[in-house]
């Protein structure tokens, strides 16, 4: 199947690009759009973005590999990102990460066999006063305890 935006996504793309003083500036929003549209940024998706952005594919590729939120591989339905940076580490982040690994039976960077969860350990998410914390897709979960994590994971189908 050819990688291409749906008409709706194409419309969004045109709208985004029109707002920027220079088309190149729309790179990140367009990559987000592509990631939403295609699930992840395959080389075909990157090539497609390069084409519509009128930029060399290598440049777009370099950009995608630079940012942690742009994925070149498929990830689970729920992307669990546990903050591991000092303020969270001081208040038990390692314990939280360990309990998630145990519960899901996967290691950092891995996805459960059913494709439900991907686990990452990430750097500071600006939630240091309410650690330990994690982000699942777009949502923050703060002041975590092992029991709280269990309940959250149960809820995420």
């Amino acid at each position: 199947m050819a990688v291409e935006f749906s008409p709706e996504a194409r419309q969004k793309f045109e709208k985004i690009v029109a707002r920027y003083p220079k088309k190149d500036g729309a790179m990140l929003p367009v990559l987000y759009l592509a990631q939403r549209e295609f699930g992840y940024l395959s080389t075909e998706a990157i090539e497609y973005v390069a084409k519509i952005m009128e930029l060399p594919a290598a440049r777009v590729y370099g950009v995608v590999t630079f940012y942690t939120m742009l994925n070149m591989k498929p990830i689970g339905r729920h992307h669990i990102q546990v903050c591991r940076t000092l303020p969270c580490a001081l208040v038990g982040a390692e314990r939280i990460a360990a309990s998630i690994k145990k519960k899901l039976g996967i290691g950092t960077g891995e996805t459960t066999a059913d494709g439900r969860f991907t686990l990452s350990e990430v750097e500071c998410l600006a939630s240091c006063g309410s650690g330990p914390m994690m982000q699942v897709n777009d949502d923050y979960y703060e002041d975590l305890t092992e029991e709280k994590v269990d309940k959250i994971l149960e809820r995420l189908k």
Partner: protein, 422 residues
Amino acid sequence: MEKVLLRNVDAPESHTLEVYRARGGYRAWEKALREMAPERVTDEVKASNLRGRGGAGFPTGMKWGFVPKDNPKPKYVVCNADESEPGTFKDRLLIEKDPHAVIEGTMIAAYAIQSHTAFIYIRGELSFGATVLQNALDEAERAGYLGKNILGTGYDLDVILHRGAGAYICGEETGLLASLEGGKGWPKVKPPFPATHGLFGCPTVVNNVETLAAVPWIIDRGAAQYTALGTEKSKGTKLFSVSGHIQRPGVYEVEMGYSFKRFLEEDCGGVRNGKKLKGVIPGGASMPVLRAEEIDGVTMDYESFQAAGTLLGSGGVIVMDDSTCMVRAAWNIARFFAHESCGQCSPCREGCHWMEKIFRRIEHGEGRAGDLDLIQSISGNIAGNTICPFGDAASWPAAAFIKKYREEFEEHITKKKCVRME
């Protein structure tokens, strides 16, 4: 103390235009647009002595003043909402609870330098904040505060919310601009400086969220009221994000010059669980750590922190009690910087990882004699020699941890294990 920055955050529905306006919001914007020439706005901010709250502390009004008036190119204002310094979460609070203040400050800055397009570069992970800000922008536009011919004055301004995608370095001014231009967040060599050659080669001002959020208050009340707050040299108030082993973590607004000890012990309730303070990083993970006994007499302002051998930075206060393994803490920070180094220039790209590897070894009981001096040497070889301040940010904490807690590091090396976290 009257709150400047947290004046609205506790009000119910503080993020809405209705509440913001009811509490005096956009009064400064109307005043600036209707009553003040752009240079007057800059002069007022200069007079307030407001300094950049992102970490560098550069005078804000002066920064605006550097933008050439006769340059025919478009001018841009960018609100730096890429808050990523470990231990810092104050901008996130403002974004989520008082988005209109951030927007109003951005708009006033744009007017001051006569920019017609402004950006709010928000870090990608702050998805909720982005939603709040976008809703606020839409509200502001519907109310006629933004868009074409604002309030009938003939002034046009578009504010674009732009999401980052996960890279600490995009909080660095030129890294942010490179990212906003569609590239990797690679900081740019200076000169030229953004004031003349910024976004897409055009004159650009980049200000932190907290800095801009203070601007409406300053314009509304006048610089004199702002300078009435704070110390002789550090004016106004500052937000401190407090985390770690503390009784009441959170974001606090503090008048510059407040006692650091009193702040920690009284305002924040002291070290939690009855433990004792071992050390505290006052300005975000990139600033040198202070030992417990070093905080005596320190006041919360640029000069006093500097005199104590550290810096105010972003105001990210990370508190560590006496159960903390300082080697593990240092390794954690080193790992952060190794992970976030953009990889562009040699000392940072290679040095950050090298330090991280050594810290990791020491923490895992594989330290060697000479490791500590080696880290100090690597740190010294990075600091000051890189394209952007990241090199300093990565090397200062490493050097400070070893300097301040050397005996603990040596113990790790001689006993071949982590002696505290068993």
